[in-house]
Symmetry: none
Subunit: 326 residues, 6 copies
């Protein structure tokens, strides 16, 4: 394979406004494409948004809680049943409003001829459950993979459900820890603090991930070393995008936003791109919106695995999986 150019978009959702965020995404994909990107990656929860500072008390829910939850559900993205690996867009004469946002993602990937990795808040087709999800759409406009975050962090657990090993969907069962072979390399990833889960990463390594995407909402300075470690450990390229957002990116009546008249930075960003030997190729980008780029060459991965292949010659898998089971 030839070297490719990847982009990590650091930007803010228009919180609680799905259509506006979709339009913003379309523009950003266009910009990245203009700059030569073949894989364009967005942060965690970019569509649907991250309800930062929404708070919940143990043992009681208020009407306001339910109202904000309803608004959050309404801003979520519905993914059609059985869409993974199927040319859903082509099969739909006209798209119902339910799937408008999803259709836009497919269309922009196809029009711009890019691989598009986006963090979305997925909304259940039945009931009112949400998952923090990451999807990858190919330049064919086809949904290539969907990953629902396995374990939300702290108060996220109030609004997001857990992912499971597989997603059961209509007649279909799709892998929830997918790594998909694309012309750019094998692409997979985890979301935010899932990236701290050693077993989850190991599952991706077993599937041969070349380009590991790590969308996040963690704007701490300790995020960068974790990305470097994962690249080293997995001997893969890591592309990580975070939101940069402030209190002004939220509705005026949003509780935490209305608490202060000052604009507060709620997520500083820190998007970065890392080589398989742990070198920082781009970023970290702090304290503003922007797109970072790097040229990467998956053909160098074999050489990088000379001295460490986490699921191959360096795995001791037979020994260690026994210890973990026991």
């Amino acid at each position: 394979m030839a070297p490719i150019k990847v982009a990590a978009v650091q930007s803010a959702s228009v919180a609680f406004d799905l259509p506006a965020t979709v339009h913003k995404l379309i523009a950003l994909v266009g910009e990245a494409k203009q700059d030569g990107a073949q894989l364009v990656m967005f942060p965690e929860a970019f569509l649907g948004g991250y309800p930062r500072h929404l708070d919940f008390r143990i043992g009681a829910r208020t009407d306001a809680d339910r109202e904000w939850y309803s608004r959050y559900v309404a801003a979520g993205v519905r993914v059609p049943r059985d869409a993974v690996g199927r040319d859903w867009l082509a099969e739909q004469a006209d798209v119902s409003d339910d799937f408008w946002a999803f259709a836009q993602l497919c269309k922009v990937a196809k029009e711009q001829q890019v691989h598009l990795s986006v963090g979305i808040i997925e909304r259940s087709l039945v009931g009112a459950t949400l998952w923090c999800c990451n999807i990858l759409i190919g330049p064919t406009g086809i949904l290539l993979s969907r990953h629902r975050k396995l374990q939300p962090t702290a108060a996220e657990r109030v609004v997001w459900s857990q992912g499971e090993a597989v997603n059961k969907d209509g007649n279909n069962v799709s892998d929830n820890l997918p790594v998909v072979a694309t012309p750019l390399g094998r692409i997979g990833g985890l979301i935010c603090w899932e990236n701290l889960m050693p077993l989850a990463r190991y599952v991706l390594y077993q599937k041969g991930v070349d380009i590991y995407t790590a969308p996040t909402a963690d704007g701490r300075i300790t995020w960068l070393p974790s990305m470097q470690h994962i690249a080293l450990e997995g001997r893969c390229f890591v592309v990580s995008a975070n939101q940069y957002h402030t209190s002004k990116d939220y509705p005026e009546d949003y509780p935490a936003a209305s608490a202060s008249t000052e604009e507060e930075v709620w997520s500083r960003g820190g998007s970065c791109i890392i080589s398989p030997l742990g070198e920082v190729l781009a970023g970290p980008l702090w304290d503003k919106e922007g797109i970072i780029y790097a040229e990467i060459d998956v053909d160098t991965l074999a050489g990088a695995k000379l001295d460490f292949d986490p699921v191959g010659h360096y795995a001791r898998g037979n020994l260690l999986t026994e210890l973990i089971k026991g």
Copy 2:
């Protein structure tokens, strides 16, 4: 079997003070025994306490959050490895401080010769994870069963982990949805809103539960009809105990408690005991501490199942489990 007397204790934990709560429990067990109770049942999280109104924001944890979590962990109850079904108390020359609270529970059950069902906040022996747990100790002082709540509700998910199908513990694997045969009948149960989970209840019915214990932290008036329904659906006796607690049961520096000088009722109670045909035998007890009692006769359960046996003649299990799997 002869009819027996069961007690549901409605009382408040001394929040964040495990020793004081243990002493309170010992006194209450003595009182219930005095009144003739053979099964004494305490509310959810009675030992360890229910951190009502503690709040958490999405996307950030403060030092104060960590400090309260540490205090909450410190107030948790450690259960020794492999303790289920073993005369742990007899095997210990002297009990380490780690297991002091657990040992007190075993001792009081043995001294008072009662079956003791208690909601505890179980503290992991490794790491710092908590589970909302219910344990049953027999008059032999032996731990008969342990159940970790499968799914905490809303912001509880920040502080409590999920239970699994089994508890792996040292060399032992114990059932996490246990129903145990005792001289009083087969005893099992679920915690708080687990009681809204149809599949979880079904698992207990499959195991033949006669006396269904439902410790809770739900003080709503809709709790009673759910208890009646479960008795009818499971054709079993239901014994439900809730905490009655106010803001004064919490430390002075507890955030929600210090927000107001008024004593606020945070949980109204509503403990109750229900017959297998849905009749209210005792309670609901509202707005105060107290113990409710009822005489129950498990020999009447077969007759109650003439027209409804949820896992027998009325189950259609072959048909329905297929639909649920698919």
Copy 3:
């Protein structure tokens, strides 16, 4: 969706007289429509009737038994093959007598522009089998769904057969636990003590039921708490209609009716409408015929699922379905 008005009709069949009962139904639908109802719901076995107090002995059948069964079959409703989802009425040049009652139902729903949910005794097109069935007809006059009760209770089993997972019918296979999307929301339900079956309810929750219909013949005071529980558990609206009938609603020669000259209340009613948080919105209506109404708003269901989604974030389905299978 806008809030809608639903009606639960509490009324008595004209026992063993299908045409008379059809006419009574048409009148009642008109009345409900007059009052603004968009969904009109009738009790279990409204067409066909509930043969209360008919008795059977183990090991012997009398000629009288056979005679009453014949009359009961004759009062049953034939449903055309493959009618579900098809504009059967429009396709029929003229309706045969066999399907007269069914055609009336379709016509009244279309004329009154309501969704019509009716309990019927369905009669087999071949042979002489009966099912206790519930059908939903839309304002288009099209049969939207049919559900045959899975498990009759006690002596009902002498006269009613069991429903299966699907209904095979001509070239068609239709779901026997259907939930159908309508402009009012997704509508589904169970009949009488099927409502005590946890797995059956779970199947409906999986299909996203918003408006849960519970036609019944249970006039006990414990019915109401079960309806409240189901609303809470399913986080859906529950609409339950029961017959109010007395011995006078049966033929004079009906054995139980002729046993006494006094009018005896054989079913007290108890129809009710419940909110997704377990609140009683209408009813229970006791000891008389009548129609109860409530305005419901399915858009509030997402908010209600913030803290409990039985098949979403609160399901633990992977874990529990395994336990049920095993």
Copy 4:
């Protein structure tokens, strides 16, 4: 527990001279003790040395290769059979020359009353196999644990054998991935690039490691981020010591050393101490010998696990271990 002081010693072995290196170690332990250290940690292969730049060709071994291997074996440390957990020193009237170095380690730990963690090249009691090993000796002079590196890196595989799950030794079987409870906290660790093995780390987390020691021979700048990541992922303190050595620390006839008259830095160091939230508490120390110190408080670990407990509430172990096994 009270906060404690830990030291990571960055120093060079006297290559191929075990007695000289033992004496250097004794002096360094004394210095660290003087400065208040309670846990003193040395780099990988400190006793025995790291044969950097020794080279081997595929498919042939020369007499010189065998000669250097013999010298390297001779510089290795013999650990007595069954020594773990036993007061071996007390049981020996006089120590044979075979175990002189081991005895010195036990003695210095006891004399200085420190916990001593040392990387050694362990020499087999039978045959001529070497393991890269880390041992922990308590202030009692007792060997508390021994860990043989599971997988050497690249050409290390020529001279070092692999560790296994357990070490079989005389009548004894000792854990090869030990975490031991000490008055300072639970101590365990991995060696050099084992620290890149996600499953091996997971095993230590399962055992509750509080103080994670990471002796290494990796002097790259990417070592620091890996240490930060492990602290975050394991929610534990990480103490990492590396050798600082140059070509002058090797014998004059050592092939790589004699290749140039210039002193070349062969390992730059980079020792560091990290907090459970990934903050750098001490180091990285580059380009010289030295000892770094930090005060750490294991009582803060529970608070750090509020939002991430890798083997507890954030593990999803049931799900993930299945995927890894399959």
Copy 5:
């Protein structure tokens, strides 16, 4: 069974050029077939090549190391998942480039109607790990067995990973110490110095090996006595093939090859065929390429076992396996 003719091919790989080596192999198989061979056996690493004199230093990897490793990986042979025992060739409409070399092996075995035993460097389908592997393909073109070398020797460990007890592969688990029944007899074997591993040989004896293949890269004169011993010990036929190669068989830029302008013999050969009583039937062939042949008769093996059956009457297995375990 009738006596058969076996061939051991002594030849050189075209180093780092997989297609050229495949074509050379095809020609050599044709020649052996011409001469009547029914089993044609090639040396260790014939496809993929043996990187003799590539050197690696402890503690550092250069870019050149990584580059040569990449080239070596690129010259490796991919074996399709689950190929053992399956007519993979027939199932593939057209073979992807990934599996071109493997397909050629299957095709030539089928076209020439021979059993083909070839040493290959197997390349992992995921990651970049290599195994030194031996495969056996039948005259049906089906892969009959695959064996990955258990333990590489010395610096081979830098580039080759270890084999395990079984190979996990897609849905399949295949034995890594296989002995397969063929019309020629039961065929199994070990690679190079694995042949010095007593326990590994014992495993093959337990499986009844009749024709023991020993591909090697050991050109020492001590190879022959080991082959004789194995035949005696295993009471089986031993067929051993080695490469004959010189520095000229390597690329011009290959480090060791470019070190001298003289052609150096890097492997002298020594291929041989041995009878079950230790007699040399063919070879050893030294200092040139060539094919050696022998006629063997597996029906003579029972007689050879009259006085020694390593896993039967002479095994003392109960006694000895205990000693080895303890």
Copy 6:
């Protein structure tokens, strides 16, 4: 350790005449000592003799058979109870006739200050059982080890019993596969075709054998390659002594001897000494009596294990012992 000189004595027993053979042995030890030997090794069954060509039929024993067996028993060597490791000679005031031969062995070893390894026919202290045995006596005159052959070959099984894992003897249990540490190195070995048993050899390797003694009665030319292989496989020195005997070394009435007046060579010898890399250091000595010598240096063994340690870095013991057990 300094290099040492070892001797393998190739000589004939005076068949069926124990005293004469003892005297012959004493003379040969003296000769070897004269030539500088520190370890003097005799063939299998040197004391007691090898009853070559004695025959037995299946299903019947003659008086002559019994007579020859009696004579053979009488020529056997009694070993005192509990003699291993004890200064038996010093403890005996005067030696009974029973132990005369054994005492002579102890005395000569002490007098000549050699390590003496002798094949004996051991006679049971009770009953009339024989074992083919090898003993090692130190220059202290103490019996250092005794090994009874595990499995006699073919018709040997009529006259020799099997060895077991341990020899139970009085209050003592001594290892039957012993390797003893001596100032010369660790010495152990197997007898004749035991040397073809891979598991038995492995047990010795596990015990660290440096000098492997292989007394034999196999005079075939294939013996030498087996000795070379064992040296390579065990990375140890191998010293092998065989009898050279003819028909004239047997009594005149010995059946096979009397069959011909010609002197027939019944065992050609073939004694040899091999280096750990498989090189022949002395012998093979064919067709005559004699003593062969070699200087060996156990300090070179570590270097020899650089690339192969059968029980260390090259063992894969965890994997392989499982397969053998299964």
